[in-house]
Structures are given as C-alpha cells and as structure tokens.
C-alpha cells in the first residue's frame, strides 16, 4: 500500500469508526493534477492542484443521504458523518433502497510508482515546446492541452467492502490551424505518465491534417458512404452504450425495441466489450456503489448483450446487476486506416465529430458536426478536403452500416470524453450529412 492509499484508508477507517448509521459507505478521492495549456504557439495557463475529498452515504433502514466534503481533518470528518446521518434520518424511506455491498472487488496488480510532479511538469513543458516549435516551423498555429492526474480512489463500507484504485493518467491533445483559417487538424494520445506521451507523433499528425484540410472545396450534404476515424467511432460508441439501459428498456423508454433484445442488430463484425483489467485502458474497477466491474460483451457478433442494470432493477426484473461500461474495447480488423482508405472506391473520410446532442430519444437520433478535416476519398486515395457538415443520425443506424474495420487504437476525445475507448476506424455504407457548416 503506497502513502496515498494509506492516507485514503485512514480517512475511510475514521469515518466508519465515527458512524452510528445502520450502514455507511465512504468514497475517498485523493488527487494531484497538473496541466499546461497553450494556444497561438504560446503558453496560456498552467496549474497544479492538490485535493482530497470524501463522500459519505449514511443509511438508516431505507432512508439515506450522501454528503461530500474536502475538509478531512478529524473534526470535519466527524461533522460530515453526523450531518449525513441527520440528513438520512430526515429522508423518507426509499422503496428502491438496497443495502451496502460487503464483498470487496478483486484486487488489482500492486500500485506502481508515480511520476514526481516536478518530472511531470518538465515532461509537459518539453512536449508542449516540441509541438509549438513544430507548428511554428511549419508556419502554423498550435493549441493544445496536456494533463497529468495522479492519485488514489478508495472505498469502504460498514458491510466490509474495501477497494482501492491507483489513478495514473496523462492525456495530450493538440489542434493545429493554418494562419488563413481554412485548415485545422487534431490529434491526441494517452499514457500512464507525461513521460510516456507521444507528443511528437501527435504534433506530426495534427500538422499534416491542418495542411491537408486547408482550402476545402464545397460539397453538398447527403447520405454518403463514409469512413469515420477512431475518434468519431469512440464518440458514437459512447452514446450507443449509454442507451443500453435495462430499466429504460423495460419501462418502454428505450430506442431499442423489444424484439431487438438479445437479437442480432448490427453486422456480425461488430464486437464491443468492457474489461476493467485491460491495461490499455486502465479504469477504476468498481462502480460508485461498489459493484465490481467485470468483463462484459455489450455487443457480440452484432447481437446485443445484457444492458446496464442497477441492483434494485436487477432484483425486480430478474436480471444480473451490471454497472455501466467503465471502458470500451471494440474489436478491429487487420488493416491500418491507410489500407482501409486504399481499398475504398468512394467515400468521405471524417476526422472527428463535435457538439453531439440528442434530438429524439425514441430513435437515439443525434445531431452534431464534423471537425478537424473532412476529405473525399476516390479510388483508394484522399483527393481533396471539403467543408465540414452538420449531421443527423442515430448511433444505432450508424453501427448497422459498418462494412469494414481498421485495427483498433486507443483514442482521446476532445475534453477527455471517450478517453477510455479502444476502437477502429469504420467504413460505413452511409452516414447522414444534413447541411453544410462553414466552420473550420
């Protein structure tokens, strides 16, 4: 147990000792995060933040309340537990209350040494400097963001559950633009530490995209054959998995129909699983209420697997409790993205999707934009950049259009969304572009 884990364990133990509740659940998050942000080829902000927060959920029978604080001195912890208990006593009984879990999730491999903050900051500065210099040398403008998060997440319950997860993540993304504002490229990478981030490759890809997307020609919208790069696929897959909820399905409020449950809805080459112990996308291996994440096939050979289901609904409906996906690994093909393009007669190639919002929950219809480069592919070659588009489509329909996959890779979405996804690029029979966006 490292010093962070020991610190979290002490906080949990103290809260459990102070408790008069029938049941108490304690979650602790200890984190030190550093970031560096740049734009216009210069640094804009940088920060280092230390924080330790504790959340307690007190229950008296079927009454409960949760309080969170980042004041963790002994007196403050005592007040926190007492306030949570007072609030819980005031609450009405919850007919859906489930007791606290007592079984601890399976232990992970021992914690590894964390990169020291000063080392992180030097690595981040060096990486940003490389990106800025490369863009500047190319006559382009770089913006980017690198963040390192180190710490511990821990949980304990009066029922005996004990769990701990070492947080060790670093992410980098960069957007490079042409000075005339007609071209923009983006790339991202992730690693356990700043030292492991591939700044050079990310900068190279973003610069190439910026150059190749410049001075786009006009193209009318339509329903068109399309290749979506992995960042797009991760965004859509996140929405698709979010719609796989057992309770909404049973209550008649799901985009999936009754006849689709367990049936083959997608092409057989679509396989998506979660694996909390996959080292490519390490995640906390238990849910907020202490349910262990397990390896689960959400989509197997195109057929829908079990949907996410909380403990109450599992008991009521006879399903297995299943937390939402902590990460997602989609099985890819053998080809690289370049080989996928080379085998394509005609399609649009989309780098990224942006500002996706639900339009109709009944069909899981979403609207959004393309971003960071849209290109025409003809006879196996990228022949020209075109304008961005607004699209209106459903992730269900999109995944039903999948004809071919590239090899899978880990991606990081903008703003860290979908950062725990490993997905391929996909070739689609069609994607619905509904209007032109002149944004670059």
């Amino acid at each position: 147990m490292d010093s962070n884990q020991a610190k979290c364990a002490r906080v949990i133990e103290r809260c459990l000792d102070l408790s008069d509740s029938d049941e108490l659940r304690v979650n602790v998050s200890l984190e030190e995060s550093s970031h560096l942000r740049f734009a216009r080829n210069t640094i804009t902000t940088s920060a280092v933040v230390e924080n330790l927060s504790v959340s307690v959920r007190s229950s008296f029978g079927a009454k409960s309340a949760s309080l969170t604080s980042n004041r963790t001195d002994p007196d403050s912890l005592k007040r926190l537990v007492q306030r949570a208990e007072r609030a819980a006593r005031l609450m009405p009984e919850d007919p859906e209350a489930m007791g606290e879990l007592g079984q601890s999730p399976r232990k992970r491999t021992p914690a590894t040494e964390l990169e020291k903050p000063a080392e992180s900051q030097i690595s981040m500065a060096r990486g940003a400097a490389h990106c800025i210099r490369a863009a500047s040398d190319a006559g382009l403008l770089a913006a980017g963001f690198v963040q390192v998060q180190n710490g511990t997440r821990a949980m304990g319950t009066t029922a005996g559950l004990s769990a701990s997860h070492q947080l060790k993540e670093a992410h980098f993304s960069t957007t490079v633009r042409t000075p005339d504002g007609t071209g923009s490229g983006w790339s991202s990478c992730a690693a356990p530490s700043a030292w492991g981030l591939d700044f050079e490759n990310s900068a190279r890809v973003a610069i190439e995209k910026a150059r190749s997307s410049a001075r786009p020609s006009a193209l009318r919208p339509g329903t068109l054959p399309t290749i979506l790069e992995p960042a797009c696929v991760a965004s859509l897959l996140r929405l698709l998995l979010g719609g796989m909820q057992a309770r909404s399905f049973d209550e008649g409020r799901s985009a999936f129909s009754e006849k689709q449950a367990g049936a083959r809805v997608f092409p057989s080459l679509v396989n998506v699983r979660s694996d909390p112990f996959d080292l490519t996308v390490p995640v906390q291996h238990w849910s907020a209420e202490g349910l262990p994440h397990r390896t689960h096939e959400w989509i197997r050979a195109g057929s829908l697997g079990e949907f996410a289901c909380d403990r109450y609904w599992a008991k009521k409906s006879g399903r297995r409790p299943l937390p939402e996906a902590p990460n997602a690994i989609m099985l890819g093909g053998q080809k690289t993205l370049e080989e996928l393009i080379a085998s394509t007669e005609k399609a649009l190639l989309v780098t990224n999707l942006w500002y996706m919002r639900q339009v109709d929950p009944r069909s899981m219809l979403y609207t959004g934009l393309t971003r960071d480069g849209v290109f025409v592919v003809e006879n196996g070659e990228v022949v020209r950049p075109v304008n961005n588009f607004r699209w209106n489509d459903s992730p269900i329909r999109v995944f039903q259009q999948i004809e071919e996959l590239s090899r899978s890779e880990r991606v990081g979405g903008r703003g860290g969304v979908s950062k725990n996804f490993v997905v391929p690029a996909v070739k689609l029979g069609s994607f619905r572009f509904s209007s032109v966006s002149e944004a670059v």
């Binding site: 560096l36 740049f38 210069t42 309080l67 980042n70 607004r390 703003g415 966006s437 670059v440």
Partner: protein, 519 residues
C-alpha cells in the same frame, strides 16, 4: 391547445419586475470590511509569491456548497450535498501565468502553494512568446452579497421533499402520464479575492435550478413523449420555487404530451418562427454569447470549445442581425446567474453593449485581454468554477433588448400568417465557429392567419447565425421580457462550468429552415 400562457406569471418575471429588472441595479454592498481572517490568510500567499519572484499575485479562497434533491414518481431518489473549500494562488512571473491550488487552508500551505505557483510559471516561461499584460484596475475593498429573499440552505428538507412529491403526485394523477421526475439544485458560493495590487473583495452568491419532466409511454405503439418544465435556473433563492406555478405547468405538460402523441408532423421547409423566451434564450447563448467571447476569437479555445466567426476585424462592421437586434452583456442584474459585484480578476462588474442595431460592437473580455483590443479596461468576465480552477474568460449574462413601443405577445401571434411557435429548451447543437446551428424545443404549435391552431411534433430549426438574426423582424416589448439561463455552461481545459442568464422577449424570425427530425 395552450390554455393559458402561465409563464407570463412565472416567478422569474414577477420577482425580477419587483426587483426593478427594467433598470438593473447592483446587488447589495454591505459596506463592511472583508473578513479579517481571510485577509490575513491571503496575505500569507501574496507575500510568499512576491518573495519568490512574482510580479503579480492573487489569492482566491473559495467555498462552494451544492445541494441536489431528486425525486421520481413516488419516491425521493437521492439527496446529495457537496461542500468544497480551498484556495488558489495565481501569479505572473516573467510574463507567464502560473497557478497552484490546495484544499489545505493553513498559513504553511498557503506559502508553499504560492511558491509552487511561482516555480511552475518559471518552468513554463520558456514557452511564453506573448507576455501577460493586465489592464489597469482599481484595488477595490468591498463586500458584496447577492440579493435573495429566502436562503435555500435554510429551508427545511421536509419542505423541499413535500414540494417535489406534490409535483410528481399531481403529474401521475393526470391522464396518460406514466412517469414524472423532479429535481432541485442549489448552489451557494463564498469567495474572497485578494491581489498584490491591494484588492480585498469578499462575495456571497446563490443560485437555484428546479425542474421536472413528465413522460407518457404508449406501449401499443412503442412510443413515448416527454415534456420538461418551463422553469429555469435563476440567481435567486428559494422564493423562485415558492412562486413558480408548478401545478399549472404540470397540468399543461400532461396535456402537451397527450397532444404530442397525436400531433401531425410538419412538411420541412421555411417558416416564420415565433420563439418564446423559454426557447430563444439558448439560441442567444449559443449563437451570440459564445462567438462574442474574445478568447475564442483569438484562437485561445481552438483545442476545445472552438473559435469564432466574429473575428476582431469585424468589430463595428459585421451586420450580425437586423436593426431591431440589440444585445447587452452584464453581470449586474439582480437574479442573474452570472451576476456578482466583482469578477475573479477583481474588476467591478458592469453592463455594456455587444451588438448595437445588429452591428457587432464589442466582446467579453478579461484584464489580460483588454490590451489586445486597444481597450483601457476589462469588462470583468474572469471567472473560476472553484478553488481548483484557473480563472479565465467566461460568459456574462447576455440579453436581447426588448422591442421599443407597445407590442405584446398576442400582437406578435396575431401578426403572423404562417409560422411555428416554439416553447422550451430542446436539443441544441452549433458548430465550433458558431455558424451552423440546429435547435429544438419542448413544444411546437402551428400559427396560421394570426391564430395558434394546433400542436406539431418532431421538428427542429436550422440556420446560420447571421442569417437567423438578420431575419428577426419583430421583438415584443418589455412587458413580455423573461429571464432564463443555464446552470452548466462548459468551456476550457480542464473543463469548467459557469452559470449564465439570458433575458429576452418573444421574437419572430422570418423564413427559417425547419426539418422533420423523424424523416
């Protein structure tokens, strides 16, 4: 059919009218000195930063309390309270910002963290090619408190529970309603700002966000319809919840979801749109609020939120909207979600025009941006979500000025031959330079020959920002002005949220593209 426009009597309107929103006034300045203990603590940080080599330093001690109460159908599904307290030290060293923060508010920690911020700025100064220059600003010493009537954190939990359950129970009794969920969220902030230039500012802010959602499920067809409440987040206390006509809204929502299930779809095409403030506010936010953020215009948000089509060369020239269209930015209106006495640079808040008679006039700015526009002072738009967040430029309240002369909502409808009337916030999406957008609503009604004739369903409107605002040919008068807003406007890396209000009266937009979302 809409039985009555109950939102005319919505609390937001009446309370703000009572508070004199037609002539925005400042929140209370109590005339007291800031808390001496906070001053002493902050000065430890400022002193340590100066000794370590900072040419400028500020220290923000920030406490935020959140309460969230959720109910669905006949049960309370959750009570969560969060309190977060800490401090952040921001410094300039060699023209470069550095920031460090901690939850440990002790003199030793303040000094250590301040030195850490300086060390960070020094390491990163090698990357600096545009040294930070701050606009001059008076060193205010002040205490400011948001003018609320009833503190939500003093309201007994039983009273809040009873309110949510009464909403749900009323909904579930109505024909066709299958589900109802209702929520209340409250935020209280206490922050202290001190800087090396002498500012010492203490502020207390409050906001609330109540809502419900009614859903009707049709098992036979496999379809379902939902309608959210027309209540809106406000920078007000519990009085907003007490005065809002919840039961009238629930009854209307139940009627709406029944009507929606049977309503016809509209043939796609160009129609005149009448947008109620409960819908128009979000279009204002996305298409005017964000592109007038100066940091976006100069590419500082390029890696995440995007840039802006309103580039600096368009100041004073670009015809963003028709001559009826005037937008004002402010952080001063009582009850405004972004309202406060001073921003997180210590600048006294103000009101200023962004768009005048449709022409792009000015941006939202912070102290370190003003010089890039050749302006002598900041507009006071610096904001940080919490102690762990770096302050940066965030949106103030942005309002569409009401029409001049007497022109009511009834007049607007009566003067429309063929259009669609849209209420409530629905889906929303806009591109990263704020051109192409698509918005939906909660309810849609056909207007023919000056009368509201029936419900529609499954539509959204698409446009391009300048085309849309230049198509505005009518805005109702001040009597129809309503304030709505967002509790969670996201921006920045790492991501931060900001709360912001948008006031407007109902307005009409000619020949806007409407699509069928089920086609």
């Amino acid at each position: 059919m809409l039985r009555r426009d109950f939102v005319k009597t919505a609390a937001g309107g009446s309370l703000l009218a009572a508070a004199g929103c037609s002539a925005p006034t400042r929140g209370s300045q109590l005339g007291e000195r800031p808390d001496a203990e906070l001053v002493e603590l902050a000065e430890v940080a400022l002193d340590a930063a100066r000794r370590a080599g900072a040419s400028y330093a500020d220290c923000r001690i920030h406490e935020i309390k959140n309460q969230s109460l959720r109910a669905r159908e006949q049960r309370i599904s959750g009570l969560r309270e969060t309190e977060e307290r800490g401090f952040g030290v921001r410094v300039i060293v060699d023209g470069t910002w550095g920031y460090a923060a901690s939850a440990d508010i002790t003199p030793a920690s303040l000094a250590r963290v301040a030195r850490r911020a300086v060390a960070l700025a020094k390491v990163n100064s090698v990357l600096q090619s545009e040294p930070v220059i701050q606009a001059p600003n008076p060193a205010h010493v002040a205490v400011w408190e948001a003018p609320i009537i009833r503190d939500p954190f003093s309201v007994p939990l039983e009273e809040k529970i009873e309110r949510l359950m009464s909403i749900n129970q009323a909904a579930l009794k109505l024909p066709g309603v299958s589900f109802c969920q209702s929520n209340m969220d409250f935020v209280r902030e206490h922050k202290f700002f001190a800087c090396s230039e002498g500012a010492r500012i203490e502020q207390r802010l409050q906001r609330c966000n109540p809502s419900f959602r009614v859903t009707a499920v049709d098992r036979e067809s496999g379809g379902f319809e939902s309608r959210n409440s027309y209540a809106s987040p406000q920078g007000l206390g519990y009085e907003y919840i007490e005065e809002y006509p919840w039961l009238a809204d629930v009854e209307q929502a139940a009627e709406d979801v029944r009507e929606m299930a049977q309503a016809p779809r509209l043939t796609p095409g160009r129609y005149d749109l009448i947008l109620h403030p409960s819908n128009l506010w979000l279009t204002i936010h996305e298409s005017i609020g964000h592109p007038t953020e100066f940091d976006r215009a100069i590419l500082m948000e390029a890696n995440y939120a995007g840039t802006s089509f309103l580039t600096p060369d368009k100041l004073g020239k670009e015809q963003v909207g028709s001559s009826l269209v005037n937008f004002t930015a402010e952080k001063t209106s009582p009850g405004g979600l972004a309202s406060c006495g001073f921003d997180d640079d210590g600048v006294a808040t103000e009101s200023w025009p962004l768009i005048k008679k449709g022409v792009f006039h000015d941006y939202q700015t912070t102290r370190d941006q003003a010089h890039l526009l050749g302006q002598a002072a900041s507009h006071g738009c610096a904001h940080a979500q919490s102690f762990w967040a770096v302050p940066f430029q965030r949106m103030p309240n942005i309002n569409l000025e009401p029409g001049v002369g007497s022109f009511s909502y009834a007049d607007l409808i009566a003067g429309t031959e063929d259009g669609v009337l849209i209420y409530g916030r629905g889906s929303y999406s806009i591109d990263h330079q704020r051109f192409n957008f698509q918005f939906g609503g909660q309810t849609y009604r056909r207007v023919k020959n000056g009368r509201v004739v029936g419900m529609l369903r499954d539509l959204a409107y698409q446009s391009r920002t300048p085309d849309f605002w230049n198509a505005c040919d009518a805005i109702c008068d001040a009597s129809e002005y309503r304030v709505n807003g967002s509790f969670y406007d996201g921006k920045g890396e790492p991501g931060q949220v900001n709360a912001v209000s948008h006031g407007c009266a109902p307005a009409r937009f000619r020949k806007i593209q409407v699509i069928d979302t089920r086609a």
